[in-house]
């Protein structure tokens, strides 16, 4: 399983864009990059997933450079309710047994008024 490294914490202010970068130097050819958000006392919630280049949905954008050794989750115009822990995961989207994702420590994002 590819190991990921992301900052422990980040502070931001309402209305700003937050960019969280995740390093995954030994990502495999079949691996996808997936990001989750977790609020206190709740289970994680899927945000976005990508393989290369850029992926955008109604919540966030995911930027993946050509070498795929890192990725950046971008949260546009954050609000106080975006305060949460954000996890970067790397793993294959396998049909058969053997596919499991590892949640690391995540990045604690604090959005201030």
């Amino acid at each position: 399983l590819a190991k990921t490294t992301q900052p422990i914490s980040m502070d931001s202010y309402e209305g700003q864009e937050v960019n969280i970068t995740c390093s995954h130097n030994n990502i495999a050819t079949n691996d996808y990059i997936t990001w989750y958000q977790q609020f206190p006392s709740q289970g994680p919630r899927f945000i976005i997933q990508g393989y290369k280049t850029k992926v955008t949905n109604e919540v966030a954008s995911l930027f993946i450079p050509a070498d795929r050794k890192s990725s950046t989750l971008s949260l546009p115009r954050v609000s106080l309710s975006d305060t949460a822990v954000y996890y970067c995961l790397v793993g294959a989207v396998a049909q058969a047994a053997g596919n499991k994702l590892t949640f690391g420590g995540g990045t604690r994002v604090l959005v201030k008024p």
């Binding site: 997936t34 006392s41 289970g43 994680p44 919630r45 899927f46 047994a97």
Partner: protein, 112 residues
């Protein structure tokens, strides 16, 4: 909203008791997972399953056991609870071929 349920939501029991944490999903997902998470700490995968009669141990050694007799049901059992088992237990499910896991609300277990 994901249709994945966990019961009980909160449980306080004494040492040595046998307990079963229930997890059910109505989405027909083949993949199901159990995670353990202490407050403010990482999630640790303790068990997972890829379908009926399939169970695997996760990354974190656990004294619990699981079963998968039906697609929608993935209960976790502790034969003899100890204070070290005090934690939050999260169940999740996903379709084969996807890394999008849907999580239940969790069970917060306290063993006295």
């Amino acid at each position: 909203e994901a249709d994945i349920y966990q019961t009980p939501r909160y449980l306080v029991i004494g040492t040595g008791k046998k307990i079963t944490l229930e997890c059910s999903q109505t989405m027909g997902h083949d993949k199901m997972y159990w995670y353990q998470q202490d407050p403010g700490m990482e999630l640790h995968l303790i068990h997972y399953s890829y379908g009926v009669n399939s169970t695997e141990k996760g990354d974190l050694s656990s004294e619990s056991t699981v079963s998968r007799i039906r697609t929608e049901h993935f209960p976790l059992t502790l034969e003899s609870a100890r204070p070290s088992h005090t934690s939050q237990y999260l169940c999740a499910s996903a379709v084969l071929g996807s890394n999008e896991q849907f999580f239940g609300p969790g069970t917060r277990l306290t063993v006295l």
